[in-house]
């Protein structure tokens, strides 16, 4: 058993749930890994606080994922709203070399995000970029999905594209692929940066 723990926090309507399901689909269906996705169910429609978690078992030998919720410390924490910054503390993110990452949206999180500075983190104005580049904040998801694909390498790019096809209406597929690529690019930039910073 080799659990990979992901938590995404923000507001209902930001697409958190979809993002988490896409991650689960790509890992569980395309890559045939064990996976569980759970969510703050009920909060979506009326825009309250929302979260989603995905646990992926990277160990192909396992039979089932024991505990279905993500366990602290997380491998990946995504923070998309100001209110959620409260839960970011040093201890909640893994510190091993190849894992433990915070991704946050600098377009909805205002002010200095102190906690972030203490860990490996990627802050991008995701929703703003989505609105500006693609005309709608929903593309923020796909951008994040692109980032995720590159950063974690849990599933292949093909699996990712396959997943996008499953989740978005065919009319917006092209734009979504673009957003995905944009995310990938941002992630690669970040990885390079990270490597440089480390070396």
């Amino acid at each position: 058993m080799n659990r990979y723990e992901i938590r995404i926090v923000g507001y209902g309507g930001q697409g958190i749930i979809t993002l988490s399901k896409m991650i689960a689909y790509a890992s569980g269906i395309c890559e045939e890994l064990l996976v569980t996705q759970t969510e703050a169910y009920g909060a979506q429609a009326r825009g309250g606080r929302s979260w989603a978690e995905v646990v992926i078992d990277l160990d192909r030998e396992s039979k089932q994922i024991d505990y279905p919720k993500a366990l602290k410390p997380y491998d990946l924490l995504v923070i998309l709203s100001d209110a959620a910054t409260k839960e970011v503390k040093k201890e909640v993110i893994k510190k091993e070399e190849n894992t433990g990452l915070l991704i946050w949206d600098s377009s909805t999180i205002l002010g200095k995000f102190r906690a972030a500075s203490k860990m490996k983190n990627l802050g991008l104005p995701i929703q703003k970029m989505a609105l500006e580049k693609f005309g709608d904040t929903v593309y923020g998801n796909t951008i994040l999905f692109g980032i995720f694909t590159v950063v974690t390498k849990i599933f292949s790019e093909e699996s990712a594209i396959e997943t996008i096809k499953q989740f978005v209406p065919s009319s917006t597929l092209e734009k979504n692929i673009e957003a995905f690529k944009f995310g990938k690019q941002k992630a690669e930039e970040f990885l390079t940066q990270l490597k440089e910073g480390m070396s």
Binding site: A45, R46, G47, G48, R49, A83
Partner: protein, 302 residues
Amino acid sequence: MSDDVRYPSEKPEHPYFDSSFSGMLLGTLVSRFCGGCGYGSIGQLYTRVFEDEKLDPKLYPLVIGIGCYSQIFFLVHKNAQKMLTLHGRAPAVATGMKMANPKMKPIIFSGDGDCLGIGGNHFIHLCRRNLDCILFIFNNSIYGMTGGQAAPTTLYGAMSTTTPYKMFEPRSDGVELALAAGASYVARTTVAHPRTLMKYFKKALKHKGTSVIEVITPCVTYFGRKNLDNLGSKGEKGEIMDTGGKMFEWIKKNSIHINQAKFMSKEELFNKYIIGEFRYDPSKSEYSEEYKKIQNIAMKGD
């Protein structure tokens, strides 16, 4: 609930805002309704009437069913004694209140699902008894709270999560049922007619007997966004109703006054809302007063 964001409020404040429960409780408004939901307007108007008429909160308990509108408790007058009941049971609770303390006049908030779905039996028996109280039916043509299933009032041809092949069942008509069951004041209006709504409400406050006021109100999230505004009139090209504004327009368009309706055919009235006053009979004897007579007989003897 604990981490709703609080919005700063501005001065001068809305003239009735401070009279509301959330005005009192939080100093600033936390509406739990979607943007464009008509329940906000209703809560607001209720507070307005409550304040204007200087109603004694001890005599007008507010009995609320279960549905999206339950959350209206944030918006109604801060002094109103409000209680949430179970899904469909508000009329029965109000009956117990009234008969145990006949000075009261309970006001019931119920949804179309609450009142005409699960609560249908209590509804017709409340009307039959003609118990002195006011029953508002909020008809948004959908089950909002549980995420957009069909209601007994859902219009023909509408999409909902439980009618993925479009609604095909004939709808329930709260007004017709109230009339058949025997309520003595029966009216229907819409949130898009706020002045009429207040007028009916005030009239019901003075009436002795069961007043049933059905209010057509928009659910943007689960009805509007999933449906086109040509539901009511086939042939026309429809537009999706994804804002409160569009739904208000549609409601106005889809409502026909009773006087006008008299001259229209069944086909023309299909899927339309007939609004207006349907019965006003102050002569019908009221339940608690009749019971009082029995008490008088019983207490006298021996």
